[in-house]
């Protein structure tokens, strides 16, 4: 198992600045599933719909679900709403 630190942005800030999930492999899809389980664990399943529309980033790169992360930290970006 690998520990991945997930940095929270936007609506996910309600969970704190970051949290950690454990994953079997470091694909983004696996991290997404682990975050979904985390939301259940902290009684915030209401954010699961936001999670489905969110994207993960590593550094300044947006990641598609099939890729693997190279480090152990990602950012979780909900739908954007600037302006």
């Amino acid at each position: 198992m690998t520990a991945i630190t997930v940095h929270c942005l936007g609506a996910f800030r309600d969970l704190g600045d970051h949290f950690t999930v454990e994953v079997d492999d470091v694909s983004v899809s696996c991290i997404r599933e682990a975050v979904s389980r985390h939301l259940v664990g902290v009684n915030r399943s209401d954010l699961d719909a936001v999670l489905k529309r969110s994207v993960f980033a590593e550094g300044d790169e947006l990641l598609k679900d099939h890729v693997t992360v190279s480090g152990n930290e990602v950012s979780l970006l909900p739908p954007v709403a600037g302006g």
Partner: protein, 152 residues
């Protein structure tokens, strides 16, 4: 801390600043003796949204990604229009009546400057990693929904 990016040819300047944006002096940044038109857009926090009253918006930003997205957006707009362009967005608290985003473009003729500003704000709203937390009269806070960056 304020963050700015500028391209080598100085066709554009973009940035993120803490707190509200200044709405004066923006035209000076895009002045060009060959340009006969300057268009500006100020996005200002209003006191209502979706039937609810608001007193302020707290903007959350991913600094690295937002500056990268703003730079790419400026490059795209400058590729589409022969303009000089400035785009600055706030992060943190911006109160009603204060500007959260300011954009200015200059061009030889007005259509390009007006088109560039319109495209810039339209694209900013769907491409740049910035999030709004609206603050109500009773200090109630809610995150506003937006556009997904997910491509798969």
């Amino acid at each position: 801390m304020d963050l700015f990016a500028r391209n080598e040819g100085e066709r554009y300047l973009c940035g993120l600043i803490d707190g509200p944006c200044q709405t004066t002096g923006l035209d000076d940044l895009v002045q060009d003796p060959a340009h006969g038109a300057i268009a500006q857009f100020f996005g200002v926090v209003r006191n209502h949204n979706e039937g609810l009253s608001a007193t302020a918006v707290d903007y959350d930003v991913h600094p690295e990604l937002a500056l990268k997205a703003l730079s790419e957006l400026c490059l795209d707009v400058c590729a589409d229009y022969p303009v000089k362009l400035v785009m600055i967005h706030s992060r943190g608290l911006v109160r009603v009546g204060e500007a959260s985003v300011v954009i200015a473009a200059s061009s030889a003729h007005r259509k390009d400057a007006l088109g560039a500003v319109t495209d810039a704000i339209d694209q900013l709203k769907i491409r740049v990693p910035i999030w709004k937390k609206e603050i109500g009269l009773d200090d109630e806070q809610r995150w506003l929904d937006g556009h997904s960056l997910r491509k798969d």
